[in-house]
Symmetry: C2
Subunit: 150 residues, 2 copies
């Protein structure tokens, strides 16, 4: 068994033992070493963003002192949801290894599938454009200020 | 102009003035009142998960003491990226109002499009299954433990 996945599973057990959240653990590896370990803490922290992967990313970034986790890999007990996959991509993580897939996660009651099943009509009712011109002015001011883009 | 979007824009200006991150502000509204305000702090916090929407969700959850933000709406200066949209959906936020769209965000240098443009082949190289059986055992143990599902 992969030793990093084993560490991710151990993290998940730690989390469910204390009822901190779902059975989701993750570790981030750089140059063969685990640089962060985390598990789902949505219930413990009363924070919907505290999935295992997100917590692992935050800890790794804090440890390395940068938002750029290039050269890192993440091992996670479940296929990342769109939020976590987005976080992984923004962090520039090189590769993702997951244990259970989205349907497995769905089978124990977590609502992963709805992200992929939203229809165009449902999405249009959910997400609406508003005051684009005022926001384009903001974007222009930003661009003219020679800010860093990442 | 929508007063909540105006507040989101003001947040964004606060963030770029101090070079905390990109021109992205967000506010969360419940029963007509703004319950949290935030802006992108990826650079300030050296944390890739600190998009404006994510920060606003975390603050609203802290304020209300729950991971469930049903009954809330979010106003954000840019169309949410997959990470933020995922966070919004996990938080059960009712509706999203955004200013600039994904192409606008791309036009000032942020790499939003790549999330949507990843090919099947690229994704297969990026995301790999590993030790599913061991993780299924974890999921079974979780399910048998009568844990809360959210």
């Amino acid at each position: 068994m992969n030793k990093y996945m084993k560490a991710a599973i151990n993290e998940a057990y730690r989390g469910i033992k204390n009822r901190e959240g779902g059975p989701f653990g993750a570790v981030i590896v750089k140059d063969g070493k685990i640089i962060s370990r985390a598990h789902n803490q949505v219930l413990k922290n009363a924070d919907p963003t505290c999935h295992g992967e997100m917590q692992a990313i935050r800890r790794a970034a804090r440890k390395l002192g940068t938002h750029d986790l290039s050269g890192c890999e993440i091992y996670t007990t479940a296929e990342p949801c769109p939020m976590c996959l987005g976080g992984i991509m923004w962090a520039n993580i090189d590769r993702v290894f997951y244990g259970c897939n989205t349907l497995d996660t769905e089978s124990i009651g977590f609502r992963d599938k709805r992200f992929y099943e939203q229809t165009e009509k449902e999405r249009a009712e959910f997400v609406t454009e508003c005051d684009r011109d005022a926001c384009l002015k903001l974007f222009g001011d930003y661009k003219n200020g020679n800010h860093e883009v990442y």
